[in-house]
C-alpha cells in the first residue's frame, strides 16, 4: 500500500514537473504576426497605459545587418516628458525564436524625456518586435513595437 502511494506520488510529482516545464508552442496567440498598419506604429501607449513611447531611428528607414541607434521618447499619456526613466530593452523574432545579434542598451539620458539607445542590429529581414521596459515614478510598464524589415 505504502509502495503504491509512493508510486502514485512519484507519478504526480513527475506530471507536475512536466506541467511546469515551459513547452514551446509555436502557435501561441502572441506569435501571430500583426498585419494592420497601426500595429507597426512608431508611437504607442504602453501595455498598462502608463507611458506613451515613440522612437526615431538613425537612419530613418531601419536597415538590416548594420549597427544603428534609436532615440526613444517617453511621455505620460497626456504628453509630459518622463525624464528619469530606467529603460531596458530586448528585440525578438517571435517566429524564429531568436533575438537581436547584439545587446543594445540606453547609453544616454538627454534629460528631456528622450533616451539614446545604441547597439541595435537586426540580423535578418522579416518580422521583429522591440520591447522596452520602462520604470519611472515608481511604476513599471512595457511597450512593444513591431517592425517588418525588408
Amino acid at each position: 500500500m505504502i509502495r503504491k502511494i509512493g508510486v502514485i506520488l512519484l507519478g504526480l510529482v513527475f506530471l507536475g514537473s512536466m506541467a511546469w516545464t515551459p513547452v514551446f508552442d509555436p502557435v501561441q496567440a502572441e506569435v501571430r504576426k500583426p498585419t494592420a498598419d497601426a500595429d507597426y506604429a512608431r508611437t504607442k501607449l504602453s501595455k498598462g497605459g502608463i507611458f506613451k513611447a515613440s522612437y526615431t531611428s538613425e537612419p530613418d528607414a531601419v536597415p538590416v545587418n548594420r549597427l544603428i541607434s534609436w532615440k526613444l521618447k517617453v511621455e505620460t499619456p497626456d504628453g509630459r516628458a518622463v525624464k528619469d526613466a530606467e529603460i531596458t530593452l530586448s528585440g525578438d523574432m517571435p517566429e524564429h525564436g531568436h533575438g537581436l545579434p547584439t545587446q543594445p542598451r540606453v547609453t544616454k539620458n538627454n534629460n528631456d524625456g528622450t533616451y539614446v539607445v545604441e547597439g541595435i542590429k537586426f540580423s535578418m529581414t522579416g518580422w521583429w518586435t522591440m520591447t522596452f521596459t520602462i520604470k519611472a515614478n515608481g511604476k513599471t510598464d512595457s511597450v512593444t513595437f513591431n517592425l517588418q524589415l525588408k
Partner: protein
C-alpha cells in the same frame, strides 16, 4: 504569255516573302513576349535585386583597430607574409597553403590540412573586410587579430610569435621599419624562439612567462603588426561582377535581351525562389549574400560554434579593446554590444557568403556536403525554426541551384 507568267511569279514570290516575314515577326513578337514574361519583376523587386548586386557594395569599411589597413606598403608586405612558408614550424605552410588564390582562396577539402588536420573547413576570403566577426564561430573581431590566430595554431602553422619576431628581424627588417617604425632588439635572450602564451604548450608558456614584460610587449607588438599587414592584403580580396550582377544591371537598364544572356529561365526562377518562397535572403542578404551573423540551421554537429566563440573574443588580448588595437574604446561598437547569450548560439555558425559558391565545394563548417544539390536537399528537409521556407520541390531545388551558379565571377586582389 511570257509577261503574264513573270507577273504571276512575281506575285507569288512577293506573297511568299510576305508570309515568311509575317511568320518571322510573329516569332519575334512571341520571343519578346517570352522575354517579358521570364524577366518580369516589379519595381520593388528590382530594388531588392539591386541590393544583392555588387553594384550596391559600399566602399571598404574602415577598421579603426588597424591604422595600416589601407597603407599600400602594408598591403604589399602583407601579401608577402601571406605566401611566406617560413612562418611555420616545418617551413611548408603559409596562409596560401589553405587559402589558394586559384580556388577562391580555399583548399577544396572538407577539413583543412596544415601541420595537422583542423576541425573545420577553410573559409573563402572574398569580401572578408565587410564582416564584423571572423572564423565560423566569430572568435575574432578584426581581420588582423584573425590573421595571427593560425600562426600559433598547432594544426595550422605551428609557429610562435617569438619566432615571428626573429623572422622579421632577420628577413624583413627594412620593409617592416618603413611601415611600423624601429624594431626593438630581438635576440635569443630577449626573445626565446619557443616562447609563446598562445600555442597551448606548457613549456612555451613557461618560457614566455620568464620573459621581461617589456620584451613580451615588444614581441606582441611585432606579432600584431604582422597581422595588420596581412589584414591589409586580405581586405583587398574582392568579388568582381558575376552573371547575376550583370543581369541586374541589364534589368535596371530595361535591356531584356542582354538580361536574358546572363540568366536563363531556370536561373531566374531560382532567383525568384531564393528571394521569395525559399526565404534564403533572410540570412544570405546584401551584395555578399551574408548577414555575417550566427545561425543554427539544423546541421547535426557536436561543435558548439558561436556559443564558444563569444568568450574567446571577449578574452582575446588582440581584440578591438586591447592595447594592440588602434581604436578608441567607443569605436569598438561590435564588441561593446556583443550578444553574450551563449545558450542562444549553440551550434550556430557564421552565415557564409554565397559569392562563387558553386565553384568551391565542399560546403558547411565541417565540409559536410560535397555538392550544392546535397546542400539544397538538406535545406529542403531541415526542421530548424530559423528557416522559414515552405515545402520546396525537387524541381525547385534544381532552379535554386541554377541561380546559385550565376554568382560565380572573377576575384580581384593585389597581384
Amino acid at each position: 504569255m511570257f509577261p503574264f507568267r513573270a507577273f504571276a511569279f512575281g506575285i507569288l514570290l512577293a506573297a511568299g516573302v510576305m508570309l515568311v516575314m509575317f511568320c518571322l515577326s510573329a516569332e519575334a513578337a512571341t520571343a519578346e513576349k517570352n522575354l517579358k514574361e521570364i524577366h518580369a519583376w516589379s519595381g520593388e523587386e528590382i530594388s531588392l535585386l539591386r541590393s544583392l548586386s555588387l553594384f550596391s557594395l559600399p566602399a571598404l569599411p574602415k577598421d579603426p583597430s588597424n591604422a595600416y589597413a589601407d597603407n599600400p606598403r602594408a598591403i604589399e608586405l602583407g601579401k608577402k607574409f601571406f605566401f611566406d612558408k617560413r612562418f611555420s614550424a616545418n617551413g611548408k605552410v603559409s596562409c596560401g597553403t589553405c587559402h589558394m588564390p586559384e580556388v577562391n582562396f580555399t583548399d577544396k577539402l572538407p577539413l583543412a590540412m596544415g601541420m595537422g588536420q583542423t576541425t573545420r573547413r577553410t573559409m573563402p576570403l572574398t569580401g572578408n573586410a565587410y564582416n564584423a566577426w571572423f572564423f565560423w564561430d566569430g572568435r575574432k573581431d578584426s581581420l588582423w587579430s584573425q590573421a595571427i590566430g593560425p600562426i600559433e595554431s598547432s594544426v595550422e602553422h605551428g609557429f610562435t610569435r617569438s619566432m615571428c619576431a626573429h623572422l622579421i628581424a632577420d628577413k624583413y627588417k627594412k620593409e617592416y621599419e618603413e611601415i611600423f617604425g624601429k624594431l626593438p632588439r630581438i635576440n635569443n635572450k630577449s626573445c626565446p624562439p619557443k616562447a609563446s602564451p598562445g600555442t597551448g604548450n606548457p613549456a612555451a608558456l613557461k618560457a614566455w612567462n620568464a620573459m621581461k614584460p617589456e620584451d613580451r610587449d615588444n614581441v606582441n607588438r611585432i606579432y600584431a603588426n604582422i597581422g595588420k599587414a596581412i589584414a591589409a592584403f586580405v581586405a583587398q580580396i574582392l568579388p568582381r561582377p558575376a552573371p547575376f550582377d550583370l543581369y541586374v544591371d541589364a534589368l535596371t537598364k530595361n535591356d531584356l535581351e542582354a538580361a536574358d544572356k546572363f540568366m536563363n529561365r531556370d536561373a531566374v526562377d531560382g532567383l525568384r525562389l531564393f528571394t521569395g518562397k525559399a526565404k534564403c535572403t533572410s540570412c544570405h542578404m546584401g551584395p555578399l549574400f551574408t548577414n555575417s551573423s550566427f545561425h543554427n540551421i539544423g546541421l547535426a554537429t557536436t561543435d558548439k560554434g558561436r556559443a564558444e566563440g563569444i568568450d574567446k573574443v571577449l578574452a582575446d588580448e588582440f581584440n578591438c579593446l586591447g592595447i594592440y588595437s588602434d581604436a578608441k574604446p567607443d569605436e569598438c561598437l561590435e564588441l561593446r554590444f556583443i550578444d553574450t547569450n551563449r545558450a542562444k548560439y549553440v551550434g550556430a555558425f557564421k552565415t557564409p557568403s554565397l559569392r562563387n559558391v558553386a565553384d568551391r565545394p565542399p560546403y558547411m563548417h565541417a565540409g559536410q556536403f560535397k555538392t550544392l544539390s546535397e546542400v539544397l536537399v538538406f535545406y529542403q528537409r531541415s526542421a530548424s525554426r530559423e528557416l522559414e521556407h515552405n515545402e520546396l520541390t525537387n524541381t525547385e531545388l534544381l532552379k535554386i541551384e541554377a541561380f546559385l551558379k550565376t554568382l560565380t565571377g572573377p576575384l580581384s586582389f593585389p597581384k
